[in-house]
Symmetry: D3
Subunit: 240 residues, 6 copies
């Protein structure tokens, strides 16, 4: 099967890293493609950024389907464009946030998300509400590091670890979700560190979760319901 990862940001410097990562997560037989946007925001850290990235995301998603991909991942924790893409595509579309929340719900009675900035907390809470798992969401915490600075892995991991401990001890989280698709390659280490400190809880990497959910849906031969995501009526739509 072939899956396409669309980074809804206008920079291709991460493309290679993402490609390697998703290939590592995916089954051996899965072919992975990665793309980013031609126009839109440099990163997604607000409803505003999300609004600006979606139009080009939808074009890229449509292209992926035309290129023969079997499924699409919106590679950002705000799940930008996932709902409209489900309307216009006949292949499954998944988002990193929804995927993580579903896997976390299968492993623990409650989970917390640790994300980048306070700006995106309400967006993440709203996704839990429309997905219907908000009763399992213990809290959304943040490390206060902008998306484009998460490459400082030590600062990131320490920030995440600190907030995870608070999520467990103060908010009642029994599982943890990394709340940014830029938090690559740190889940396993954080899970290990928590375990060494007495908390044997799963730490979900959102890109890993989205990859496995998408592969599962494709394997099962299912995609989004056309009753929830109906094909949009045809009409004139003027481009910018």
């Amino acid at each position: 099967m072939k899956i396409k990862v669309i980074m809804p940001i206008t920079s291709d410097i991460f493309n290679e890293e993402i490609l390697e990562e998703v290939k590592f997560y995916a089954s051996e037989t899965t072919e992975v493609g990665v793309t980013s946007l031609d126009y839109g925001p440099a990163s997604v850290e607000s409803e505003y950024d999300e609004a600006l990235c979606v139009p080009n995301f939808l074009e890229k998603a449509k292209e992926a389907e035309e290129e023969g991909y079997d499924g699409v991942i919106s590679d950002c924790f705000g799940d930008p464009g996932v709902k409209p893409a489900r309307e216009i595509l006949d292949i499954p579309v998944v988002g990193a946030c929804e995927s993580s929340m579903l896997f976390a719900s299968s492993l623990a009675k409650s989970f917390s998300v640790v994300t980048v900035l306070p700006n995106v907390v309400p967006m993440i809470e709203n996704i839990s509400k429309t997905l219907g798992v908000n009763g399992n969401l213990a809290s959304v915490r943040y490390v206060n590091i902008p998306v484009l600075e998460v490459h400082d892995k030590d600062r990131l991991k320490n920030g995440l670890y600190e907030e995870m401990i608070k999520a467990i001890e103060q908010d009642g989280a029994h599982a943890l979700v990394l709340g940014c698709t830029g938090f690559m390659g740190v889940a396993a280490e954080l899970q290990q560190r928590l375990k060494q400190n007495g908390y044997e809880v799963p730490v979900i990497d959102p890109v890993f979760a989205a990859t496995k959910l998408l592969e599962s849906l494709i394997a099962m031969g299912v995609k989004q319901s056309r009753l929830t995501y109906m094909t949009p009526p045809s009409k004139e739509r003027i481009k910018a």
Copy 2:
């Protein structure tokens, strides 16, 4: 006070009619401006349309603030652009759907929405969930008339009346909300017709509701919370 109504569609043929209507709804001392989009969809009838209308909506909203308006209405029942606009504007921003649901909740234990097409039903349900009044939403019904055909008022009113009766008798609705901002000038007549047939229930016009909510917020000197709608970090955002 000055309020700006932004129709998130690329057609200005309704602008004059909307202007007259909102002036009629607004207090005498309120100044009203109306605009539509330069690019985007001809009408909003899906998540996809909504995604495409938001970028230009946000530009128009920003312009309105710069022109000295005191508040902005997103004149479409899917409330497109309301959340991101709240992030980037320092004046209150309201949507027709949220406004109607709040007024309906003040008048009855439950309400139904009657909208245009089945495509937008999940969007409206999702708004009720993120607004937190989904427990009051009895149902979302539709007349199966596309937005751009609602000018046939007799067909529209009959379709709405029929669905309203079903909403009351089958779904337990105690109040009714017109689920499209294009359903202009029919609320009072439908409320009257329902009353004559034994159902003394309020019928909410969404543009009327948005106008009164916005005027109220401006009068009260309040606007969206900066904790829920934080100012987006500055960054490069490439235009289409």
Copy 3:
């Protein structure tokens, strides 16, 4: 339009102040009347007080309708008499608590109420449950000042400010509601003080909210649903 504010307490010493305040909140063209009770409690600070104030409140509400008023405000944050008055009146009836909670829900993902005494906390929570917005209620806090002592504005404002900060920092409130109709004339100042300290959140004055909601409903030509608030059957009702 003409609106009647009924203070459900047996003292007319605040009538003049309330009259001035509501006139200030209302549109210029709105005529305002204020009355208090002939019998009942000196203030409302419990379910017990509420029970005792309602019979005369209902008589006053009926009188207001007969005098030609277009709508009635129950001027107490426990919304005493609002539901039964909606049954017996053909003009809209609003309460301060319900009105505030709806406006707050339009501005933020969550809100807290700061009220007078712990006694009324469950009453306020119950209103949020029957109104259907309890999911948005972050907390109900109190300043521990009895209703009849709130005239000490400095003590009041400091108490409110302190609890508001706790509501934001500890309970996750993103908007604030003053939980007593006696907290007159302090909302704007508190909103300003919070902003100066980094919290740009709306502070809702409940009498202002009730006034604007009532004016809006009257303007829209809607009133309480007769399906939720049916006319009581006629029968003998013996007066005390």
Copy 4:
């Protein structure tokens, strides 16, 4: 132990019948007293009636405590006066509706109430919301017989049976609650009739439920929490 049943209506013609009934329900060693009101409505069929019956109910409840009773039942399915009485009494106070809903929740995953008139449906739903069992309430149905006409037992039983069948088959009810304290002496027969027709479901008599709940609470040495039902501050309260 001694329990007092207060009928919140101004007629003593049912007192003897109620006395016999509650004695039959109660343990042999329980002493039962019954009283009705001096002023208030002839029956309770609306929020309005409920508002008018509560002041004298509270006086009667206070008297009962002073007379040495160990607990009080508000003998009406709208539970009038229960919350304020809990504030002013140091003995447990129970209502017929709350009691029935709790027993029903112990026997089935869902229950329906069958009451007198549509007027009281929202009141009963609101009780389920403030009690916290609204998720178990399948529906509230009504026989459309006024309280003072329920003495025609055949009409009553047939009406109840018909609605109970609809509650089971259409609304998913797995238990049934008689929604009026005037529906005396019919629960067992209806339960039997349902069983003979293939539905082996419990039918709860609300006065029976209130009696057993109250006896249980007294036996257990518990009463309403003073944190939820605080003692009202002392103040002037002018009588009508």
Copy 5:
């Protein structure tokens, strides 16, 4: 009436104590029988223990019915075997946890449970969810004392008192439930101690609650609904 208390553990050393206790709780005319298991766990402190105790519990419950008992209590706070026993018995079956939660809901807007070990917290929360009162559950706390060590009453009472204070002050509990059926004979004293320290809140003993609920159901002539708890189809079931 005759009620049977089944301790779902393999030790009969507590049988005499339990018998005395339940006799003390029950009405004078109630006959009480107590039994424990032949095989299963020594105590119930996990889902695992619960799974192991249920098969023999069901045999004992069936025996009780055959011996002419009118109702059965599952004498463990995890309510083991209650649901399957309701399917195979024609007499009412109650659990200690469900019973306590229903009584607590009748006395306060919220309650906390204080149990033995952290292991059983999710089980208790799940019972509140399937019973439908999870909205009233403020928290589940634990004293960290294994079931078989609760006989040290001083350690137990101090541990319970400490957690009760935290439940009230930190979690918003307005009533308290002892979360283990081994916490015998301490409820009244703890209620008294809390009152002396300013918290006049009910403390529910779970065995007392189960006894009174069961007696009430038997007296009312009701038992579990056959729509929720259908008789299992007959089939081969191989014993271990």
Copy 6:
């Protein structure tokens, strides 16, 4: 990776068929083992059957871990033994029902389950409540065919199709879940038949879902949280 499918019934006649099926669902590199029980019920169609199958299921699950399996599937839609097995195993344990509900939630705003008999409807609803997705569950319907008769595939498929249509048209389901692990090999055909009749909705096979969820969890290196599923304290546990 190696996964073990445990059929919680005492018959090995389906083992070969299940083995073939799960091998077909699983990735090529996944090794599959299947076992059934030595003692317990012939099929699981009630809480009672579930209670009887769990003890041996847990032994089989423990054995699987000792044999080096990487994860375990409880191959029955009631998810018997899943929670206690999670406590005693250090490899992930999934159930067919939970898995299906999570995948369905990723594809549609609502889903219905179609199962075998009315007996198991409350069990399935309870799983949705403890999993936290009950808000997405439109209904649980049944074909009224006992588990051991589902081999008549034509009767089964017609029964399922009929109920699926009702779930969509009457209950608002937007996705469908086969509610019995014995419904093998029919999902794709039913999905196709629904599509041909205008309903393009996903149909989830529960064994397929459990297989893909388990493979995903193993690949991601996560398992059940030790905070939700703590290791049971050691103690004497007497075997039957």
